[in-house]
Assembly symmetry: C2
Homo-oligomer: 250 residues x 2
């Protein structure tokens, strides 16, 4: 997390510390992993207040404790202006396999957890709960073929899940937008920290949704579309190439 | 490694990439570890040239290959101005134990590999060879009780190895200074990336030195002093409190 980019003076330092870990927990959740240990590299201006740093560490420590993550080391260095905190999280698979972004096939249906868009104005970007339990369960479902977490916006991130020769057919009406968000916001705002995954077309979608509601009654699950052969993309779907997610370098 | 701090435009980008990994290899060497995998978090200005980045990665990759380190992931983010590269290195113990900074006792003798001081002007700070083989061997010697690598200068780093109630008795004439370096430079310049360790006083120092010369004929080894009870510190030793090593925040 970088000052001026992932947080600013409006975000409480405890929330910044927690966010740093939660971003990584979300990545691990998307593979069906369980976190174990972390190291922290801190680059900060010598004028950073000790009070701020202490609160930052308290937020990080509380989040680490609640997820049984041991902070096992790190590094500190001085930079001129700003603050950059880089955390590396280690984890282990919770079951017989981990999920990656690769493995979806033509015909697979596309699901997303939670709601999309407006992460920054709503404060979701530091209040979110990493989907660790959901990710661990999904990695055990053989019908789930590929998974990732949404950090740069659906329009950009979905490319990474899309099988070669196909295109995602998604209708705007199916997107689970955060209240007050436009379709564009839902596609491009970024920092959703929700799970995006592909379910094989042969799966029993009704039974899958029923089981989900029993296991995770408080986590919304939405089928937002399907990977279709590029030549047969139906009309009425969103042209994702019109939208740009978060670009890390501009 | 941070632009303007650990490197600047005078250091070839390949050397910067290698240095980033070698700094971490040196830490691992100091525990008697063997490296396995690394992740890289890169924060860079959008105007960083692709040519520079490619050379940086080539240097990193060549060093990783030669040490059988797999670069297994990472992250990239944009900052305004400068470049910060943070690498986390994973490794495993090469023998039945790892060495840490703790464990030295009163009477233990103090050894250092290589030469000290002048790392920046001599180019040693990016040309050094991490002492992995030496560290792995030392961790297997039961007479070696504690070890660390020298990165902030002997005057500062030695505190971390010093047992409670003792003081390091070191004579200036025994310091293996790099050619042209003053005692002060040898104690405070930093970035030596040499091993510093404590040998129990009961050890056969002559036999130890003989074996060392057989195993590592190209790595200089120097006994620089001893941890003595604080009340009995002899005259003629260096008062380390007069010297300050590298301070990360000033």
């Amino acid at each position: 997390v970088i000052y001026g980019k992932h947080f600013d003076a409006s975000v409480p330092p405890r929330a910044v510390g927690a966010k740093l870990l939660k971003r990584n927990l979300s990545d691990l959740a998307a593979m069906g992993g369980r976190p174990t240990a972390a190291v922290l590299a801190l680059s900060l201006d010598a004028h950073t207040s000790l009070e701020w740093l202490e609160q930052f560490y308290r937020g990080l420590a509380a989040c680490a404790r609640s997820h049984q993550v041991a902070i096992v080391g790190g590094d500190v260095a001085q930079i001129d202006g700003g603050l950059t905190a880089s955390l590396t999280l280690l984890g282990v698979a919770t079951g017989p396999r981990i999920l990656t972004r690769h493995g979806a096939k033509a015909g697979d249906t596309i699901y997303v957890t939670g709601r999309l868009g407006g992460s920054l104005p709503s404060g979701h970007h530091f209040r979110f709960t990493p989907r660790l339990a959901e990710g661990a369960w999904l990695a055990r479902q053989t019908d789930v073929r590929a998974m990732m977490d949404l950090s740069d916006g659906l329009a950009k991130d979905l490319h990474a899940l899309t099988p070669a020769g196909t295109t995602p057919a998604i209708a705007a009406k199916d997107l689970p937008l955060r209240t007050g968000c436009t379709t564009e916001a839902g596609l491009t705002d970024g920092e959703d920290y929700e799970l995006l995954f592909a379910l094989r077309k042969e799966a029993n979608a009704d039974a899958f949704a029923r089981t989900w509601r029993q296991k995770f009654p408080r986590t919304k699950l939405t089928c937002i579309g399907q990977f279709v052969p590029r030549a047969t993309a139906p009309s009425g779907v969103i042209d994702l190439s019109r939208y740009h997610g978060y670009e890390h370098l501009r």
